[in-house]
Symmetry: C3
Subunit: 500 residues, 3 copies
């Protein structure tokens, strides 16, 4: 009985509480948008190893949604230097493969170099660090507020990463500006220029722009017990500002990772299986339904290695956060949630798939539409949605509460469009494959469809539909049942072909 | 042990977490109110089948509480056309009976017409839709953010519904303006005129004002697979704006409902039992204590019917949200929580009574005071309260943190007064029956009483009371114990009569 | 299975959900702070029994953190009159001992005078009231929003209490001004003067400034059933404003408390054991590991007494809130969480130690640093921190996201400094004992360290560190491992001595 009660309470918690996102509202009238625009990045900061492009977060549609958007490109052997933000981030990997790391305070260092490496002074010493993760094209990476994050491209293909920072999140206790806190370098944080516009004023010096550079040398010497040379490097003193947030690593990084992993991943081969493999490694065995027998031995081995390396300095509570899964693949190679070979595919990630998103209060959706296929008119129940076009182009229409068309244009690859909560939106692909990612400001974002099976029209009594729309009952019946599709509508031609 | 821990954690969650409402604060100094007013609606929009009256949400006391108030009147056979809002709504049925529906995306259609009806083209086809609910006078209806809602009056008595929209809710990710998104018609959404005042500007056309009207025809034809005529109707094109949000249904709606239901409800008869019956149908059998034997068979039958109709397309998770109870009667005919025949009665609804309110973060209270009876001075611990007078009139006094009287006037039927969080308030009825409903912006709104048994004075040591108020201990004792009533104080005369 | 699931869900809830504080963000650009200041109180209100000093809550660093700070001093036999606030408060007892009470609406009166006291009219009557708590130096007291609070000094040493009011809390549904609602007296609430500056205007009269004074006499006479004299006292009419919020109690208060308690506490003796004793009394026996045998009998006795006195008028749900622990000692005499005899000690209180803090969304930290010892550079992950120096002085450096030093000065006893979320901070003590308390706006506030063992640098792969900071691997290794300390770094001299 007690079990059942506890269970039902927890379920009730699951179902209800995550339907509201704990976030900041926009200022008065910030969302009285009569016109939306498909925006390109308006600033570009080159770095030694790549570039960061940003969208102006003061743009009204971003301010309505309280988000900031940026895009980072990393060349081969480029490292995005560690930084943290005042708000949670969702990063979508548009292209490429590589490594990323996050540092969770007070979590144990679970990756250790083997004992047998030489340990001479100045030679290779036995390193240990927190888990390093592999990412690949199509991944969503969840970066919590204040958590140090870095990423690295070890492949030839440039890595392109789209990042949404949810500055309206209740995790952000500062004001409504996105902030990057860099651990290293002398580069300006990428959103600073937009703060300038807001009246703020910062003097620029050559003494570094990272969080170490503001401390006095003696403080750091004492705190770190290192010499002045190292402190100077730490503070980014006299470092060329052009070096920037993304640096080139000569000879590449050598990172401790399980060998079978490295063998499997080169250049994105066998990606379809990657997702399963991740689940195997990162979820509880009891929650996992194994589909392949061949790897069971490897899995066992990895698990026990992991178990051993963790045995020092950890405890039960830490374990749960410290080993939380931080990424999930929703790209074209993942198994879709919605699929119609003539229309396209959609995959979503919510806090039910990736529990860390409950903390971030964010979710995402990846979609791919065939030429002339449509996503039926629908609206986001409980979230703002930031649509970023990855490939191809589509015609989108967005309608506000006054019935006005606030957007009726093409959205082409590389541009972003904000669809505010409750605004109606529909899309028709103009390319063979229009592909997009939508970042949503709720970890259990839901949509309501305005057409098709199980749409809001479909779910009302036929008499209500008839009276509502001033139709004959027969017409109302057509309205309820003529479209047999739920989400994605194939182009007319293929419908005819299929039914022929 | 694990059971107990889980249980206690869940309880702790229940008790603590719902005490804070997850909502928006007002802007700086918005609540520095030196004067409150008992407000009437200041705008009135006539429709074919009724009218909608609104209070200006930019009024300072509504802005302090971040709410919007409106009142809809539906004549016989009038349908309030489906719409959804950017914030949760609590609706109180001041008068009348009827049906309402809400559409929960991805919930199954659980009401189906029987097989034996004729199915000829153009004739009556076998309809199915989501649950339709009956409402009656005294009901609180909870409408979550973004959920499509409609209501219908099938009786002669006009339906009067007071609606509070909590735009400060964290469910609202847009700005602080109430918005209605209509599925149909050509009428302006009722709060738009107040946005105009705020500087926004919308052009008016005759192409419809609903969320379909902003889409291009070809989009809708493709998405719905219907002809142009139906699309025109959908978009409200050329529809007379005067038709409005509430339309007349010629001949009335025929809605699928259980037959025993219809037999029981006409013109509000047997209302007292209605509440029990609702509970019987909508709660878990194990939580329900049946008080009547006569209906047990009916209940059984209904339960199994329901079970069958749900068996297609549902799953465990959906079930819980899809069948959530959405209304509760707190009117004068319901069983009160606080009752004194000489003073009056009070009934509250919180998320403990109606769990969906946990999601909306709203609760409500219905009170009825006899002539010269008082509600003792008290304050709302954790909520703003919007008092709407239903019948009669009372003298109310409201005091702010500086000890100033910010309201000392009569509140008469049809007027609304905001009592901000922590402001002290007391009322004395001037009518035989002063009746009110109070909407509260917290799903577990609590009050602290400043007089009477179990008041804050009563709960302090007598010495602390004496020192605090500069009284002799004997006087402090009187202050603690002279009033034997907890909430409602009968008029002096009846007190004397009772003790005589 | 169900048990495990429920447990894991609850744990997941514990771990994730409390990491985000449900609170208000600051206005745009409120946190673009280029300079912080160590602030002293800027206003001082003398009372009959003590004084209240306040910091201007409109100061930009307090507005960024959405908090208000004040300091109350109570002389012997002084009573801080009961009041409540529109936001949760955390109070740190810098000095002294005494009693405090809070009144939880609808909780039973669990402290009762024994039957045998004389009950004649005008004589001593049998009083009963809610629990009264003892506090002592080093205590954190948690005061929820809207809960009536009073405190009393029964010792010779003046009581000094620092109070942080979290006006950004989602518990506050009014605007961003701190408000005190006094139950008694004629004094102005202490933050009113700052509202004046904001443009508000209040007329001052001599009719009292408390929440009773705004009611008309007849209302109160009816509601309380007392004579006009008592009502006048209640309303603070003609009371000298100088009497104020803290009044002198002639002859002292006599308060019902368990006798062993009184015997144990005079003048703070045996304080070290006090904490254990509290736990014993207030926690579940099963969670408690008893360390002393001598008091077991007393404990038994007290428990059964308590059980008896509570048996009337309570229920299962009330019990949990009504007996919640409201204070915890984190002072120098408590057992520290972090300790290094050469460097200092730190103790924190979070919602894991004191569950009521989950409701307030606040936590605190008490630290003590020896001369020249450092707290390593670190930042607050998910909270703003308001540092108040209790004793001695230290040099603090604070760095913002642009790498600028926003503070590099001494912080001396009596001054407060806001360290915004994610800003880096480090401290070096300049006194033999620099002691501080830090109030944090998150009930599970976490920090990330930038130096030392298990710091963010330490937890990254050595190659990433080398590439990030442009160092040789050998230097990166030094950076990772040269400082063997985690939090507190002893002065260089003592390090050498220790290793010698």
């Amino acid at each position: 009985m007690a079990k059942l009660l506890a269970l039902s309470l927890s379920l009730c918690f699951l179902l209800f509480s995550s339907c509201f996102a704990l976030r900041e509202q926009s200022q008065q009238n910030e969302c009285q948008l009569e016109r939306l625009d498909a925006l390109e990045p308006d600033n570009r900061i080159e770095s030694e190893g790549g570039l960061i492009e940003t969208w102006n977060p003061n743009n009204r549609q971003f301010r309505c949604a309280s988000v900031a958007l940026s895009r980072a490109t990393l060349q081969r052997n480029a490292l995005r230097r560690p930084y943290y933000s005042n708000a949670p981030q969702e990063i979508y990997i548009q292209q490429g493969n590589g490594y990323f790391g996050m540092v969770f305070p007070s979590c144990p260092e679970t990756f250790e170099e083997p004992q047998q490496s030489e340990q001479g002074e100045g030679g290779r010493y036995r390193d240990s660090h927190q888990k390093v993760n592999r990412f690949r094209e199509g991944d969503i990476i969840a970066v919590p507020t204040g958590i140090v994050f870095w990423m690295y491209n070890d492949q030839d293909t440039p890595v392109i990463a789209i990042s949404l920072t949810d500055i309206g999140s209740s995790n952000n206790q500062l004001d409504q500006m996105p902030r990057r806190f860099y651990l290293a370098g002398n580069q300006e944080q990428e959103f600073l220029r937009y703060q300038h516009q807001q009246g703020g004023k910062e003097e620029q010096d050559n003494d570094g722009n990272n969080i170490f550079s503001g401390f006095k040398r003696d403080f750091l010497e004492d705190a770190l017990n290192v010499n002045r040379h190292i402190v100077d490097r730490l503070q980014g003193r006299n470092e060329d500002e052009e070096k920037g947030a993304i640096v080139k690593v000569k000879g590449g990084l050598s990172i401790i990772t399980p060998p079978e992993r490295q063998a499997r991943h080169p250049r994105g081969s066998r990606q379809e299986e990657d997702e399963d493999e991740d689940e195997k490694e990162e979820r509880q065995p009891s929650h996992h339904k194994s589909r392949r027998g061949e790897d069971e031995d490897d899995k066992e081995k990895r698990h026990s290695q992991k178990g051993e390396s963790r045995r020092h300095g950890d405890n039960g509570l830490e374990e749960t956060v410290c080993t939380a899964k931080l990424r999930l693949n929703i790209g074209s190679s993942s198994s879709p949630d919605i699929y119609n070979p003539q229309a396209g595919r959609i995959k979503t990630v919510t806090s039910l798939d990736l529990p860390v998103l409950r903390w971030l209060k964010l979710s995402a959706e990846h979609g791919s539409l065939r030429k002339n296929a449509m996503f039926v008119p629908h609206y986001n129940l409980n979230a703002n949605s930031i649509l970023y076009a990855l490939k191809g182009r589509a015609r989108l229409q967005v309608v506000n509460c006054n019935g006005n068309t606030v957007f009726d244009e093409e959205l082409e690859a590389g541009r972003a469009l904000t669809v505010p909560q409750n605004y109606a939106v529909a899309a028709k692909s103009l390319s063979d494959r229009f592909t997009y990612v939508a970042f949503k400001t709720n970890d259990r974002a839901g949509i309501a469809r305005l057409a098709g099976t199980s749409s809001v029209i479909n779910d009302m009594p036929v008499d209500v539909v008839a009276a509502t729309f001033n139709l004959e009952r027969n017409e109302a019946r057509q309205l309820k049942s003529n479209n047999p599709f739920k989400f994605l509508v194939p182009p007319r031609e293929s419908q005819k072909r299929a039914s022929a």
